[in-house]
Symmetry: D3
């Protein structure tokens, strides 16, 4: 494992081509944990990854997107576009040095801007791989998802809404995908599907489509009405926190 405790010469001579890039946050963690919790954990996580992968481990970026914690003293938050710019610059620096595998993770969920940027970067620089460290494992009992794109669900919905535009779906081949859905971050759908569809179009029916749309809308309606009331109530209250 290499880190910024090494010299540039040691990094260069190591032959290492993998880098760990950890993201975190400086944000409140209740009365019992420090503001730097995510930052400490990210570095610990990165160190362990670096040892197992024999990688060059960068320091965790202390600052992240923590807007929802800004009511608590000491929290620091970045605009999502700032975090995106940092991510791009770090990857471009590493690519310039010839590293091939860049493992990115965040100990803080609010840094989600990293995911769409990660996708853009992977399609912009097909000579490197920027991997999201917390992707799901298909061989771990988690099944490969079956109805991702233009499959049973969307086919059914179109049969309900614009059946005139659905073409021979009964004979459309099923395509269960050969990797997990998160691979859309790394390669185009042309690498992982037979027709561009992912799922079983033939199982789609107008009834299923109508049911699916109606159920979804019912769900949304109840959620939205409830949430609007709840937010209005919460905002007008003093807050639930013992401060």
């Amino acid at each position: 494992m290499l880190s910024v405790e090494n010299t540039w010469k040691e990094v260069r001579d190591s032959g290492v081509d993998t880098v760990i890039v950890p993201f975190s946050a400086i944000e409140q963690h209740g009365h019992h944990l420090p503001l730097g919790t995510d930052w400490f954990l990210a570095d610990e996580n990165a160190r362990r990854l670096g040892e197992r992968l024999n990688a060059y481990v960068l320091p965790a970026l202390a600052y992240g997107c923590s807007r929802e914690h800004m009511a608590f003293a000491g929290t620091v938050t970045l605009r999502p576009t700032t975090l995106a710019a940092i991510f791009e610059d770090v990857v471009e620096s590493l690519r310039e040095h010839g590293f091939k595998n860049i493992v990115v993770f965040s100990s803080h969920g609010g840094n989600w801007i990293l995911k769409p940027i990660l996708r853009e970067i992977n399609f912009q620089y097909p000579d490197i791989i920027v991997v999201w460290g917390n992707g799901p494992l298909a061989d771990d009992g988690e099944e490969v998802p079956e109805d991702i794109h233009a499959g049973r669900g969307e086919t059914a919905a179109m049969l309900a809404v614009r059946p005139d535009l659905v073409k021979n779906h009964e004979s459309a081949p099923a395509s269960s995908g050969i990797v997990g859905q998160e691979f859309n971050d790394y390669v185009g759908m042309d690498k992982s599907t037979k027709t561009g569809a992912w799922g079983v179009p033939a199982e789609g029916t107008a009834e299923l489509g109508e049911e699916r749309i109606a159920g979804n809308v019912d769900h949304q309606i109840r959620y939205i009405e409830w949430a609007l009331r709840r937010v209005e109530m919460l905002r007008s209250e003093g807050g639930a926190t013992d401060r």
Copy 2:
């Protein structure tokens, strides 16, 4: 329900203060569904929402972030920052007219930049609510999550890594949260938690922390190693799609 088929006077005189803002994509949908599938479905969904909510329904934005589909003819993709700018401008226009509730959803998963921007907007303009239409429902059998922030998991991890920084977690009060986690998009944690923590810190132990960290790292290692091999293989192959 109102839409762009109405005149400005009808919108103004209606007293309506809710707007539906649908996002979608122009992207391939296999051999049997049209490029506009997400767009058609988003408008249908929006119309149904608008009727139930008595809202002003905007046309679905046709273009979205579809980078992973760009190998298929006819697909159009926006940079995430472009989609973010559109979202901001539309919300600012609606807020200028005095609308209070802005319901946003996307029929296309790849438009995820909308979520971090939605969070920023809600904190920037506390006089309106921008709601994510597909949030989870707590009263639907889904339980309110219990270990979100500074709870059992993070406390355990800190006990394993930096126990010197954990303060009296055994007596730290449990705080299960009074709404779902997605409410962090709408209000600060100070509105929904007692200490800023969300979970049961007292249940954290160093053993649990070590186990959790190690398990996570094991998972990551296996995923990353497998994914690196798989991506390399897929890229060097001609692709699985029958084109």
Copy 3:
């Protein structure tokens, strides 16, 4: 004609290399026309163009730059830079698919940011042509303009202001241009002029220059003084609209 009602395969197999990209606006249209007027008309216009040109027709972008209509409920406006970013992304997507001719028009005059961006794009990507659909027709009785750049007018003005810098204009060749002025959006002046000048420099005189400058300034002065008074008056009034 192709549209987003087609599948990606139909678009790919068609051999079509022309795309129609319509822009419009969601803005008030008086008491008798709907907010979506420009949007409906843009799609109608695009469809007719697409049929005649055998092109792939994209949906009209609903949103445009409508700042001046924001006093009317239901109007939506984009910042000019947002509209510019959308335009760039759409053209880059289409270019990536190999389309060669991109026909752009706007049913709404306020989207004028499209013109300078169109010019930048054409010079950035000389392998495609982005055409402004509403350019003037030279063979329709409209004459090719004769005094565009460094011709009679500018030569005269320089003779009045800095005659020491004008070099042998009496013998400078006339150059009437071989296409219309709007071709500056597509190719450099080196493609359409003999010397870089467009007009008849030899006709320039100091008297004409003085007259031209003075007339222009007179015009400006009267306009500005009148406009300043008129704007001040209008702003202090309640407005002329029956709302």
Copy 4:
């Protein structure tokens, strides 16, 4: 008249509240005129304006948007967004000093990005007026335009395309506007129109609409086809310029 040859104290004590902000370009002007032609003329124009208006005259910005002239040595071009940023900064500086009337003009047509930005600025800062120095004069024999927005033309087009959405246009009041169309740069349509419409809706007929749409499409088609051929030809040729 004041200029940058004065001291700050002279400017402050003058009571002047009008500024002239000239834009220009450094671009080729044929064999007989210097690269700085637009720049010299802009300063001359600005000086004359400043004397007549008793204004503070800023130096003409030398650089402008001259992409179409970049094939000629010595030309300098800015990105449109750069020019927009300069314009915004200068106006904000002047507004900070308390100037009320900012007269902007460009001696170079290619700086058209200034117009949409000027509109945005005027709506952002209603306490100042940024005037486009070359606006048309209504009292000069030029008639106030009569069919600008939601009038005869658009009403007719909607009667041809979506007659179901046109509401009682026969009895819709004519509204000829009380100022010229360029006033949309300074105030909202609510200041200058009765219904939001500008024109005579009652004169619209479906026949006129069909004729208008068809004529426009015919025009566009002929233009596009001719232009596509012409551009292709021009690009493949060596160029017409004697260089």
Copy 5:
């Protein structure tokens, strides 16, 4: 002293209103020092400052602008605009919490974008002070500079170039400034000078001006000619580093 090892409650209850914001870099430091040298030193420096000032000490930002070191493995560099965005976001976060004094320093000289941004921030938010930690000390034997702005030097130069624009400089009051020049980062010149000038205008003469300009130009000429030769030579060589 407080740091991210504290809880948010400890920070809030401390009454501390000063924050230390350290910047650094991850860049090569020869064969004998680690890549993290600047980062380690910045944190050490910040800790000492924090203890003496009783401040809230943030972690040093690991990444900085290190373009000139990118030939050495392991170095990471940010675009200047990215570093500027981080700086702005951190200051805005701290200001939102009510901190008043923000002490910024960089252990790495290449982060100089921080200085112009620091100036902009101080003028944008006059309710806080962002102090550059490495400013010069006037009471340390360093004299307050005497010829900063519109003083002897510039007056002399104008006497040589445009004497017609120099007004009664012989009787213009000397103004030695009441603080050091770096105070232009914190307050306007109106706070620290009598006339806006800083220096002794009366000492300016045309001879001095000519001498000053000529000397400066001589210096520039020799430097530029030598540097152009030297850079060309260095670039064409293999480099002097033992790598």
Copy 6:
């Protein structure tokens, strides 16, 4: 010498490959000098440079970054990012014409954003040289600096703070650099140093390091405390200027 008083043809035929790009400011210069002082001086300076270097001399950009002078009427200020964009566009225009040597200087110190941008540009476009016209002269009696990077000072500091990370510095070779430090704007450290270090690492001791750090911190502390008091006092006062 060439300028914008020449035609494009004269510039093209001249064989000149050097350009002078002067920056300045429109800002107050006391009671006795005009607002355009920097602008006039920059043009004078540029002209003299142009004559000596046989260069193409562009007009000085009138506007600059003058935030600290905005309390004085007539001053104009640009955001640093705006000035950076102008600089980039001008250099890219000149590079497109084939110029090789671009000499940049500013008659106004507040335009310091130019320096980091200049560095970025030089590394982005290694086929041209953008030279900062006011660089120091090594052959003029000024010695080449000896302790720039990873030398005595930094080595000593690391010996005091993290001695475990310092590797055999006693035998690390001294490297005095073969050019001045400002060459980091033009070429990477790999061109000018033996090990990446610049200085004499072997002279570093822990005592020197401790002394250096402590002295620096003492200096900072006294400065910051004094400055905080002084700024607070100045802001609360009416200002020292006779206005």
